[in-house]
């Protein structure tokens, strides 16, 4: 997989209030997102992960270091629109990102602004709504949709711009369990079937374990990164930084500490299999 986004030694400070010194929220962070990858970005509120997301599509520009998107430097104004078209951003609150009073008009908003011809817009809007399974709702009013449906419309609005990458900043934080699984299923399918690169910022560990790679940030830096199994097997490190691990992972970790040689497990199924190997045979009858 080739490199798609590259952050090189990036620092960032928000404009300070009057009389106060600027404080870096990112301190020399380097990370790479490969084309077609599904990356989960974890960390506490305030660790800099949302800032990172905004640097990925030039909503913010680094105060130190460089961010490259598909080889383009995000500080180069000439390629700004190209970067924003290629990297779409979905935020936490679906009500803050839908603008039109009809679902399909909302999805058309992006491509209209890119100057796409009308017949092409029609085709893209229909395809995007089908991709998020919201085509049947195309004439509905967004405010009448559930949270999960609204987020899928927001995602469709980005797909209609034919992006290479979608960055989602806690897209499921306001959703119920059903809405969460709808959104998760949608982004996994887009990643798998259309090869769209996904960067998912989340506080839900069960979402993170489904990623190809997990990057954990803490206090403006990368704490650790790797496959979900590599990251979540470091239970002590994560706990030390008051980060969560899935309950399945924690259970096998605790039992391992009590002398049962369990592997690191990431979900219910793995945990049950690991336990089954050590439990006495089930008595018949």
């Amino acid at each position: 997989m080739s490199e798609f986004i590259s952050a090189q030694d990036v620092s960032f400070a928000y404009d300070p209030e009057e009389g106060q010194a600027p404080r870096n929220v990112l301190e020399g962070v380097s990370m790479r997102i490969r084309r077609g990858e599904f990356v989960a970005l974890l960390g506490h509120n305030g660790c800099g992960k949302s800032t990172m997301a905004k640097l990925f599509n030039a909503m913010l520009l680094p105060t130190g270091g460089k961010v490259f998107v598909d080889g383009m430097d995000t500080v180069d104004e000439a390629v700004l629109y190209e970067i924003r078209r290629r990297v779409g951003l979905v935020l936490q609150n679906p009500d803050n990102q839908l603008v039109a009073s009809v679902v399909e008009e909302d999805v058309a908003f992006g491509p209209e602004n890119l100057g796409v011809p009308p017949e092409e817009i029609r085709r893209r809007v229909d395809e995007a709504l089908k991709a998020v399974e919201m085509y049947d709702f195309r004439l509905n009013a967004p405010y009448k949709l559930s949270g999960g449906q609204k987020q899928r419309v927001a995602i469709a609005g980005i797909i209609a711009m034919q992006p290479d990458c979608i960055v989602l900043d806690e897209p499921t934080a306001m959703l119920d369990p059903r809405g969460r699984s709808e959104v998760l299923r949608t982004i996994h399918r887009l990643n798998r079937e259309q090869g769209i690169t996904i960067v998912l910022i989340t506080h839900y560990m069960d979402e993170a374990v489904q990623a190809d790679r997990v990057i954990v940030m803490d206090d403006g830096n990368v704490l650790t990164e790797g496959t979900p199994r590599e990251v979540f097997s470091q239970v002590e490190l994560l706990k030390k930084h008051q980060l969560d691990v899935p309950q399945a992972t924690e259970l096998t970790y605790r039992l391992r500490g009590m002398g049962f040689p369990m592997p690191c497990t990431l979900n219910e199924e793995e945990c049950v299999e690991a336990l089954a190997a050590y439990l006495p045979p089930v008595q018949a009858g």
């Binding site: 960390g43 506490h44 509120n45 305030g46 936490q92 559930s146 949270g147 999960g148 806690e170 934080a173 306001m174 959703l175 119920d176 369990p177 059903r178 809405g179 506080h203 069960d206 008051q242 980060l243 969560d244 899935p246 309950q247 399945a248 924690e250 259970l251 605790r254 039992l255 009590m258 002398g259 049962f260 040689p261 979900n267 219910e268 199924e269 945990c271 049950v272 336990l275 089954a276 050590y278 439990l279 006495p280 089930v282 008595q283």
Partner: protein, 287 residues
Amino acid sequence: MAVIECKNLTYVYGEGTPFCRKAVDNVNLSIEKGEFIGVIGHTGSGKSTLIQTLNGLLRPTSGQVLLDGKDIWAEPKKIRQVRFRVGMVFQYPEHQLFEETVLKDISFGPSNMGLSPQEVEDRARRAAAFVGLSEDFLTKSPFELSGGEKRRVAIAGVIAMDPDVLVLDEPTAGLDPRGRDVLLTQITSYHKTRGNTVLLVSHSMEDIARTADRILVMNDSHAAMFAPTREVFARGAELERMGLRVPQITKILSMLRERGWPVGTALTMEEAVRELLPLLEKGGVRA
């Protein structure tokens, strides 16, 4: 003794219009004084409508809400008193902060209750302490605070009214794991210290498992279940059909049970370990 009862409670939005929709349909329930109730249900199940009838923000289309045995709408002019006794913390309450300082913001509720200025301030300070906001926060502007701190200010504003029943609608939504943990610990210790009744609406089954004595499950405008936490979470398959889940740890033990191992229902990590240890020791593979 029951502090809140709902009798044949029904609420219909837009009655008499083409958009008429029954959001709460003939709900009967009784909540005892001092209980910690978890309320779950998918979006649109009627749970938010239900809780808004409890303090008279919505007036039932039919049926009754009783507070200490009295219909809260018996004297509609006194509904304000009901709102002081049943405190409501809405979703994303930090959006409702407006005062110049944290102390003033927390004082807003009690200052409308006809208390002396000293009593108002005492209550505000106590409430701030309950949610873990130290003295130096009180003079800050609420808008300088982080999201989690703002939310604690908003919750303190309701606690300062010293309600007999505290209703929290998704208080941990959007907080990180550490923020959730701190807030939940504060809510449970407030509940223990004050001995009042708490209703916690949440999409996080882990939060509910940690805190609730009983769970009310709303589904399709009905109260589908209202039972002790352990009993509700033992009905995982039914919950999944309603678009809900059980905590992962509960699910793991129920999967083992389905495969024939004699393990009970676990709500927490500690319970799961306790259930599994005797069996694992019988397996005899300890290193």
